[in-house]
């Protein structure tokens, strides 16, 4: 083991000397990518095997990642990496298949809903074809089913069902010995994702009860209410998992707190599409987090990120302060910024921005 580490360290050092890159694998990638995109080393390539429609606006993408991919636990997500019109985009999606499928057949699925105006989700729906290769990161996240077997309640809304599909299937395969209930909120019956899968699970496992609640079938929306929770036997003893739009998550959290559900019993994963960005001076500004320096500041007026970093006592690299020299370019890990020169609004994910001409629009996190 030690020999292996020293060997790879030496190799890494040598690779850096020869290719001038922190990631020596990047040297051959441009050539291997052209020959066979599945040979790329910088990230895990995955071939699209099959695409199936779940609902009118949701599709399941079956992928075969390169063998070296590290696998995942039910409830985790990963980042996909694709190039749209020359721009690399990364976005996070939950794995909707069970880890068993990966272990037995080397396949995983992502179930993705088309977001109105969403650049990446629409591209995935319209342009990604079977046979194409996309990039993946390793899986991450701690929205995991209980190690110690306890009764479970899942509360899902819309496409928030995706990690829960993976969890339910995994629990079924392991013959989970405790009762499991799913409250699934959808707008109309046509919006149920994983309909057959859920029905089959409910038919086969008497301990699993499924309650699909449609919210928009009558003139007044019917959201989660006390009655829904009253109907769950032994609620206080359950581990509770929440995944869905922010409104549902807030409502459920509040109602559960009122019933003295302990915070340790409650598991949630944030799942909300970013609000469509608008260019207007009124929605400029927001809290900026410099994650590498562990600092957080509130922006004043239309101050740019460079000014804010400096006001916070940081000394990021910079030069011209007018958007020419790119010395101030750094990685924004989350949030959106407006480019002062072009008025263009960035995407919400990770990308490089020029500090001196970027103005925060809502909370922003930077890798400095």
């Amino acid at each position: 083991m030690l020999a292996k580490i020293t060997q790879s360290k030496t190799l890494h050092w040598l690779g850096r000397q020869l290719s001038n890159s922190e990631d020596p694998r990047a040297f051959f990638d441009p050539l291997t990518a052209a020959m066979n995109p599945m040979w790329v080393q910088q990230y895990t390539p995955a071939r699209v095997e099959r695409i199936t429609a779940e609902t009118a606006d949701t599709k399941t993408f079956e992928l075969r990642p390169a063998n070296r991919w590290g696998g995942f636990k039910a409830g985790q997500h990963l980042n996909i990496r694709i190039d749209i019109q020359g721009v690399r985009r990364t976005r996070t999606f939950s794995l909707s298949s069970s880890p068993a499928l990966w272990e037995s057949r080397g396949l995983i699925t992502l179930t993705i809903k088309r977001l109105p105006g969403g650049l990446v989700t629409n591209w995935l729906h319209d342009d990604l074809k079977a046979g194409d290769v996309i990039g993946l990161t390793e899986a991450f996240g701690d929205f995991l089913i209980p190690v110690e077997k306890k009764p479970v309640l899942f509360i899902a809304g819309g496409s928030g069902i995706t990690p829960i599909l993976s969890q339910l299937e995994t629990m079924a395969l392991g013959n989970y010995p405790e009762p499991v209930t799913l409250l699934y909120y959808v707008r109309t019956p046509n919006d149920v994702i994983g309909k057959e899968k859920l029905a089959a699970l409910a038919a086969r496992h008497p301990d699993f009860s499924l309650d699909v609640i449609t919210t928009h079938e009558s003139s007044t929306p019917r959201y989660l209410n006390d009655h829904d929770l009253d109907s769950i036997p032994n609620l206080a003893a359950r581990e509770i998992y929440l995944c869905g739009p922010k409104g549902l998550m807030d409502l459920a959290t509040e109602k559960l707190r009122q019933r003295d559900i302990k915070a340790e019993q409650l598991h949630s994963t944030f799942f909300a599409p970013p609000a469509p960005a608008q260019i207007s001076s009124s929605d400029i500004g927001g809290q900026v987090t410099f994650s590498a320096s562990n600092l957080s500041v509130d922006s004043i007026g239309d101050a740019n990120l460079l000014e804010m970093a400096e006001a916070a006592g940081l000394t990021p690299q910079h030069g011209c302060r007018m958007g020419i020299c790119h010395q101030c370019t750094c990685t924004k890990t989350s949030g959106t910024v407006v480019n002062r020169l072009t008025g263009q609004v960035s995407g919400p994910g990770s990308e490089s921005v020029q500090l001196c001409i970027s103005i925060p629009q809502g909370p922003v996190a930077l890798d400095i």
């Binding site: 990631d23 052209a34 011209c320 020419i324 020299c325 010395q327 990770s350």
Partner: protein, 357 residues
Amino acid sequence: MNTLNEQQLNELQKDLDTIRDEVLADLGERDANHIRSMVRLHRKLEIGGRVLMPFGFIPPVFLAATASLGLAKILENMEIGHNVMHGQYDWMNDPSLNSQTYEWDTACSSESWRRTHNFEHHTYTNVIGKDRDYGYAVLRLSNDEPWRPRHTFQILNYAALSILFQWGVALHELEAEKLSHGKSHLKEKRPFLKLAAKKAGRQAFKDYVFFPVLTLPVAPIVLAGNAVANLIRNLWSSTVIFCGHFTQDAETFTEEQAEGESKGHWYLRQLTGSSNFTGGKWLHIMSGHLSFQIEHHVFPDLPAHRYPEISEKVQKVCQKHGIHYNTGSFGKQYGTVLKRILRHSLPERITRRPAVA
């Protein structure tokens, strides 16, 4: 320097910003494909050169191997490294083409180059005393600098600088001329020297230790081939760069002229301080499109392969404002560079034409 009034300068700025905005709005797959195909070509040339070099005891193979490796280095330094480090492809969000993390195949570290070139040279273009690229502190290229006897044989300095160009650029930030005048101290330069030694060591290790040792029975051939490849790259890049700002009609500026200037004024200085040369597609690629130095200086962060197509628009803007667009064949432009070096070897009282009586 042309004199434009404030209103004209504002108009000039608007005209050039329009060109810039059009390109920015159109960035996409075409640009990504261009830089990626250049990277692929670089990999093929470098791998080809490295693989052939040990067989260099066959003379034609030696020629092919050194040419391949030399071209690889030129392509990587000029069209890929230089342009990527200007941030021309940052919008692609690809970590291997990011201006802040890219490290190129030459002795100068990217970090030092970003300070001396990207910031100093591009902000203070041709401002005597502030732009240290102007003559690289070893050449006197304008009357603004007083003549000294040591300038007499500066053509030899120029030759030496060209041959060792990558090392000259690597040590640029040391500001040796200030050190020798006691205006700065070696102590302040320690962090830079550490960085420079690391990068230079890496370059020397690769070309002069690792690959020769790897091919031990033919080590001298590999060593020689690598040295020649580096020489080819040095001569070419130095020549291209000298043609960019030191031609006959490229103007120089005083610090006062550049003080507190507006964006329009800055644009005007870039336009008149730079010079182009004409040629075919591959001449442009191999010079990293610095053959379009004027466009590069006006828009340093637009993808360089766009310069040929925006050049016509830039020329029209120059015409409109009565600004000289300095261009000519490669040979002609280089000729004026040599003339400039020679002319400023001697004091003005000798080179000035005698007044007509």
